[in-house]
Symmetry: C2
Subunit: 573 residues, 2 copies
């Protein structure tokens, strides 16, 4: 490709609305342009990268035995009503009406459509297992689209769905797909980790996310120092401390805390160490048979954070978790948040594992402006339950039993689920089994954010000059930069010959034939992140040489007679 | 691919809701399934065909110098308002609102989005010409989706847009794209014709459609017997007859026609030959300065059909063309349709070229239940204009000047336009020209219905057994059909070896390893339309042979030792 017949669309300035480095560099390097909030056009260079990611994903899916098909973006509302998600999904599901006023959704995911397809087409266990995938434009009406293609409203996704007669068969396909995902990220050349994940609104039991590690990541991942264990912090278990609770040594005493509403206030004004006090959070309980919801107190150590996903999975709590309104708290407890504690409560109390081994600790006295010191469980707090309620922190014992946890940031680029029968039950998707009886299928689903991978790859591979693409997904393999070509006789001829010979060998070459100063051309090629650059200048030609630069900093001089063969070997090697 | 690990999804029965052969065969051969009206899932075999068409289109676009990018499906309403099409486009434009109640359209075409992109990114004539394309899912909310993927609501299209400083440059790119389109259809192996076309709602001046010829085509195409001239009947000119109008020989006379309302009635009840009378159609005229519309009479021979596109382009007629309501006709003329004619009208009269050379002809007397005979222009019809108002018919003189016209049916699979400045004017898309002044760009646009090509290819290539795919787009190149494999020792080994050897040579093989009767397997492979089939049976193996069948009827016996090499040569040849 000649730059004179291409759209480079590079920008010198950092766009003011781009917060993270990948968004800035994708704009500056001419990979994408914003059309509207969360809607991006892929420019030629960006599309080349996107297609390379797609091709690797497709290849690994086929190797894993998945079969490609293509479902519509526009999905009838009926199917979503049948699965129950028309109500559940919320405003991220972009709902539309056609000219006849019939309701549809623009697909963020295709569990309903594929289940509808399979229940109609597959009637016998002999046709199972089946693993179907597509690579497609998806739509999700994000409340706050941001970070460019990282969290866009229209994006490219690979979604696969598998159907089985037994959970063992599902687990087997799940393991194959897990490996295929590892292969994808390894081939692209990313530092990534599969982590144990929550199943969220998709549902199911076992689930793994695949994260590209990067400081800008929106997710926190807990890693064990002693094993391969890794989990999204949403899901990482905070284990029961092995040390026993010390015996009580102090009496229960109140002290006045008129200005202390937070753990920080207690520390500053009263010298209470955060890990020696607890915070008590009041949420609504699971509704009773008449639909009424009581209150539940959640108790975690002052220096710990409540993990809302863990709390909402506790049978006593309502789901999704909802914090109680102040007037409900005051009516039930007689004090407002800021002075709450576990002593003498008449509502159910759930105590986090780490908080449960405290002795002689501090908490609110359930009387405005007063706290207790010297609190001890059992003696002062009669009825309570112990559960894992908090986020793990750096240094926690790993739930795998080996080593301690460290926390890193990750960008979620893949998510796989053992769905079980959530959709096949709701949509009555069964086949005849070996005994001739109808049996509901069990399902897996497997997603990769194809367009998000492009951005995640940049978050992990850039420097001050621009993008440093991993070889497997660079938009071009090599750039040819002839210096002051338009003032020379020799340079255009040499550049053209090398360009044609590399192209003939199947190498993807960007030939910068613009009338630009060498500095402008170098800056553009580095910004775009092309792995190899060949510089053709008069002085080197005098020595029958051309200069080679790699994007990662390597420099070399090649003889003009052998340069093409050496470059081909270098690029393929 | 092994059928046991695939979804063949073939059907024995002809689906009752499929009207045309391609729709029936795409369902029966497991290419597509209907999700909802006009929304289809592409099954694995269908998707393989679709991707092959895409690849050919992409390759020819790149050879023509077009650069691929990818724009969003969801487009902001603002841009459509700016171009004027938000109002013009009608309900085919599927309009949606996001969670913030902002208006968007699902793109049926991308003139607005590409013009917005180019006006922002391109500032100098040095960056022109530019030819950008994408292959993408498009949405059009058809009032009556039908014929499967032929007229679907969601479909795959290749759309390209070119930008130029001059009309000459546009014409040059247009010619290159015209040739690229010919290359696409030739490579796919279709009988097609480029035809002169109307520009419709897209706009512009010069335009060609590319039609795949097939009896089921929705369009009528006029072809010259004496040249390459071909035009959509919408656009084909009916030339002025060369013979002069005969002199009048009869007096103007009325006759009673109380039961004759149509040309057919006049013929049956009164013996009037259709080509010796005229029909007079009353439409609304172009609005005057105050926006009022008068009436206009359109006169065509009794055996000819009004061409509404030609009529609405006449400056006296309103556009779009609208037939006058009966009460307006009666108020102005004093008679109702059925007894109308050109004699004594006080409204403008436009007479079709062929009607204008009639003498002594018959028409309504503008008095209910009466007709005139012996009408002659000039003597009886004082003020009239002559224009081309009718559809051409078989046998008409060709407008190219050579030969006569014949009419065939075609399926429109491509459409290219010299748009001119319609969008760039409305959206103020200019660049600095060589003199440093801002100049509006001139544009071309070029569409191919990628998914429609799949259906059109079937309309042209099928037989009683199913689809007969052109080699270039067949889902698989060869099928291996082992007979009663599960009862044999030798057959599975031979089939497996040939399968592996063909695969290793890069051939796309469908290996039918199902436990099905040979007849079922043959029927499926023929229905799917795979060009080559290799049959492996016990009896032939005794002779060290396997049987070959081509989908087009060829049969041969190959020696087991050389069969793979011979098949590879055959498939590639």
């Amino acid at each position: 490709m000649r730059t004179s017949q291409y759209i480079l669309a590079t920008l010198k300035e950092v766009p003011s609305d781009a917060e993270i480095i990948s968004h800035q560099l994708m704009l500056r390097a001419g990979m994408i342009r914003r059309l509207a909030s969360g809607l991006y056009t892929w420019l030629p260079s960006g599309l080349r990268v996107l297609r390379k990611v797609e091709a690797i994903v497709r290849d690994e899916m086929e190797k894993a035995g998945a079969i490609e098909m293509l479902m519509p973006v526009i999905q009838p509302a009926d199917l979503w009503i049948e699965s129950g998600r028309w109500e559940q999904f919320g405003p991220e599901l972009l709902r539309i009406k056609d000219r006849h006023n019939r309701e549809f959704a623009l697909g963020p995911t295709h569990e309903e459509v594929i289940t509808e397809f399979v229940r109609k087409e597959v009637s016998s266990y002999k046709q199972l297992p089946l693993n179907l995938f597509q690579i497609q434009t998806k739509v999700r009406d994000e409340v706050r689209p941001r970070f460019g293609v990282m969290r866009a409203r229209e994006f490219t996704m690979k979604d696969a769905y598998s159907f089985h007669l037994s959970d063992e068969c599902l687990a087997n396909t799940y393991a194959i797909m897990h490996q295929a995902y590892c292969n994808v990220f390894e081939r692209i050349g990313l530092e990534y980790r599969p982590v144990i994940a929550d199943t969220g609104s998709i549902g199911g039991s076992v689930s793994h996310e695949f994260h590209v590690l990067a400081e800008s990541g929106e997710d926190a991942i807990a890693f064990s120092s002693g094993s391969d264990y890794a989990a999204n912090i949403e899901k990482a278990e905070a284990v029961m401390p092995s040390e026993p609770r010390p015996a009580a040594t102090k009496e229960l005493n109140t002290f006045a805390t008129p200005d202390a509403k937070t753990i920080e206030d207690l520390k500053t004004l009263h010298g209470v160490k955060p890990h020696r006090c607890v915070k008590t959070l009041i949420v609504y309980g699971a509704p009773d048979e008449e639909g009424k919801r009581g209150l539940v107190a959640l108790v975690v150590r002052g220096d710990h954070e409540l993990n809302e996903l863990k709390a909402e999975k506790h049978p006593l709590c309502d789901s999704p978790l909802e914090f109680a309104k102040d007037h409900d708290i005051i009516a039930a407890i007689g004090a407002a948040p800021g002075s709450l504690g576990p002593v003498g409560l008449s509502i159910p109390v759930i105590v986090d594992r780490s908080a449960s081994i405290l002795a002689d600790f501090v908490a609110g006295a359930n009387k405005d402006g007063e706290h207790y010191s010297g609190i001890n469980f059992d003696r002062d707090v009669a009825n309570y339950e112990i559960a894992d309620l908090r986020n793990v922190v750096e240094g926690d014992v790993s739930p795998c039993g080996n080593g301690t946890l460290s926390i890193k940031r990750g960008i979620e680029v893949g998510h796989i689920f053992q769905l079980g029968t959530k959709y096949s039950d709701a949509m009555k998707a069964g086949v005849l089994n070996e005994t001739g009886k109808n049996q509901i299928m069990t399902m897996g689903c497997y997603g990769i954010g194809v367009s998000r991978i492009v951005a995640a790859a940049i978050e992990q591979n850039f420097d001050a000059k621009g993008i440093v693409w991993p070889k497997a997904i660079a938009p071009f393999q090599i750039a040819i930069v002839p210096m002051n070509m338009h003032k020379s006789h020799r340079i255009p001829a040499v550049a053209e010959r090398i360009y044609q010979e590399l192209k003939a060998a199947g190498i993807e070459v960007l030939f910068d034939d613009r009338k630009e100063r060498p500095g402008v051309m170098f800056n553009d090629m580095e910004l775009i992140g092309i792995p190899h650059t060949l510089v053709i200048g008069e002085r080197n030609l005098d020595d029958n040489c051309v200069e080679y630069k790699s994007r990662s900093g390597e420099n070399a001089m090649y003889n003009l007679d052998t340069v093409v063969a050496e470059l081909i070997a270098k690029i393929r090697g």
